[in-house]
Symmetry: C2
Subunit: 330 residues, 2 copies
DNA sequence: CGAGGTGCGTTCAGCGTTGAACTACGGCGG
DNA sequence: CCGCCGTAGTTCAACGCTGAACGCACCTCG
């Protein structure tokens, strides 16, 4: 059962292949009766366009690549879910890859090596530097997401996401409003401004400063990654070190889930004794006992915006483009 | 900056395009010195093959589509993560789509409409029937996964996964061994043998029968979907109905998370008063307080097997292919 | 009545790659 | 000396589609 081609449909109807092509694509001039007959033949023969040929000719593939550190992280899974849906609504198909947070893979993704030709790339990098960005050779339209990407945006490469510092400040202020003064920050990472966690730490710092609460380095816990295990280990460390704390701001929900786990294991009452706030609004957070208060990053807005930037009418824009966020108090 | 083509490399080196093609693909006869010069020119010019043209010519695209109900479900996110990694190791790229559990989208995916040409399809259907499978026109190699898919396998279309009934029996037996006799089953769905949940219910039934425990219909809770909200609502209903139970077998972990949430809200001690067992071994399950006992479906084995069936040396095989599972007691 | 639309459709070339078929040449056995 | 083989390439066409350019009626208007 060989594939049905334009030529087969054309022969059946008795017109040229180009006319069939015009019907399929809605281009050129085709009279109503001819269009009807072509459509009928298409349905009858089960014709489906060969996207490879179409791409070879037109240069567009209808494919958009999404590269995240790992789909196992619920935040990225939810982002991917939302993005795939939004892209489909615009006729694009999404191709998913994972960087595993390694620089080598990230560099390869930046050049879109080992991938079919794509119309755009949405990238959540963790290890890239501004130099890496400057050295990029690929001309595939790129949109950065994630807090680390914010520092990599340029005139030609936009970054989309909420203002992380402001959101982190809101989260921390929420804890302060509830009377917490010894607020641990989990997810801190020292180093230059581009490093992951720096921006959220900045918001944490601002909230404390505004409330006149001194910054205690003992309350800052560094992590290697933003997952449950690290969040769990961080709280384990705080408890082992005998650090007093009545609140925890976790730089993402996965860290918060790990933190809540360890607090639970040690029978620390939440939120009576220690209040926890996360960041990302993972679905799961609403089903914990007690549920997790967190920052909702407004995925639906972001995904639409990203598509506008890649294949829509905002192509070519650069710089950081802020999206609305809000606190989900539970 | 126009794209570098085979012809550009060929001109640079002073050979034919076909020779460059041979070097790139490792085909035909090329002497060592020529190969060296070609490789040098490729690196220098930054040549990268045009996959559209390659596909147009060879018929293969290197793309494999994965269709799951939703990436928001942690099980599917983890499966996707594992699958993307396994596929990359074999040089294939994965394109992810979501069916949202609607029959319409599933039918469309079955024919791989609205997708670029793909070399294979991995599909976790929820609503398809055997008639739908029989009516399939697309010739793209297909592998089914998920419990519902098991009933749809045929001579030409394989299904990969653990023996759901046996695994469910193991999970239920685990509860029985701990002295539980009033074991609720959440995820039950009546109807014909192909319907989701039927197979896991069968395992539950067998375990009870083997232990001489009567089957109480009051303990069976039907759900519309396998997510936290439904699991939560199911336990809510059991409690509201005043049904006595000391164990719960949830047909997947998401249901179990929802169930645990509601048990927690109602201050029911777990596992002292009610023991819960899930199915899927979602990462998150290990970080709950207390952690969730569950069935590990061995994703790594499955993904490798699936790729063998799609693009490897087991192409063409059909029928149900069982994979090992094991109980993770926590 | 001829110049210039306008509606409908055609022909042609070529996107970049690769399978099949072909050439060229040195060595080697009969 | 001839035919044949193995090595190292080349040439050519075609994969299925679409942009550009070009008919060719028919109609309108100065």
């Amino acid at each position: 059962m060989a594939r049905v081609r334009l030529a087969d449909v054309a022969e059946r109807v008795g017109v040229s292949t180009k006319t069939v092509s015009n019907v399929v694509n809605g281009t050129g001039w085709v009279s109503a009766p001819v269009r009807e007959r072509v459509l009928a033949a298409i349905a009858e023969l089960g014709y489906r366009p060969n996207l490879a040929a179409r791409q070879l000719r037109s240069g567009r593939s209808g494919l958009i690549a999404l590269c995240v550190p790992s789909l196992r992280e619920p935040y990225f899974a939810e982002f991917a879910s939302e993005f795939v849906t939004a892209a489909e609504a615009r006729g694009a198909t999404v191709l998913v890859t994972q960087s595993k947070g390694t620089r080598e893979v990230e560099l390869s993704m930046l050049e879109s090596e080992d991938l079919p030709a794509i119309d755009g790339l949405v990238f959540s990098p963790l290890r890239l530097t501004r130099e890496d960005m400057a050295a990029r050779r690929s001309t595939v339209p790129l949109v950065l997401i994630g807090e680390h990407g914010e520092g990599l945006a340029s005139d030609t490469v936009p970054h989309v996401g909420p203002d992380n510092a402001a959101a982190a400040e809101t989260a921390t202020r929420h804890l302060i409003k509830q009377g917490r003064t010894r607020i641990a920050a989990i997810g801190f990472q020292p180093g230059d401004g581009g490093s992951t966690g720096h921006v959220r730490f900045e918001g944490y710092r601002r909230a404390l400063a505004a409330a006149g609460i001194p910054l205690d380095p003992a309350l800052l816990v560094e992590v290697d990654a933003y997952n449950r295990a690290e969040g769990s280990a961080a709280v384990e460390q705080l408890l082992a070190d005998g650090v007093a704390f009545d609140g925890v701001f976790c730089f993402n929900d996965s860290l918060a889930f790990g933190a809540l786990y360890t607090l639970g294991v040690h029978r620390v009452p939440v939120p009576e004794r220690v209040a926890v706030v996360g960041y990302d609004n993972i679905e799961e957070g609403g089903f914990l006992v007690p549920p997790l208060t967190t920052i909702d990053p407004g995925l639906a807005t972001s995904t639409g915006l990203i598509l506008d930037l890649l294949v829509g009418d905002r192509r070519g824009e650069g710089g950081h483009i802020g999206t609305p966020f809000h606190l989900v108090a539970r």
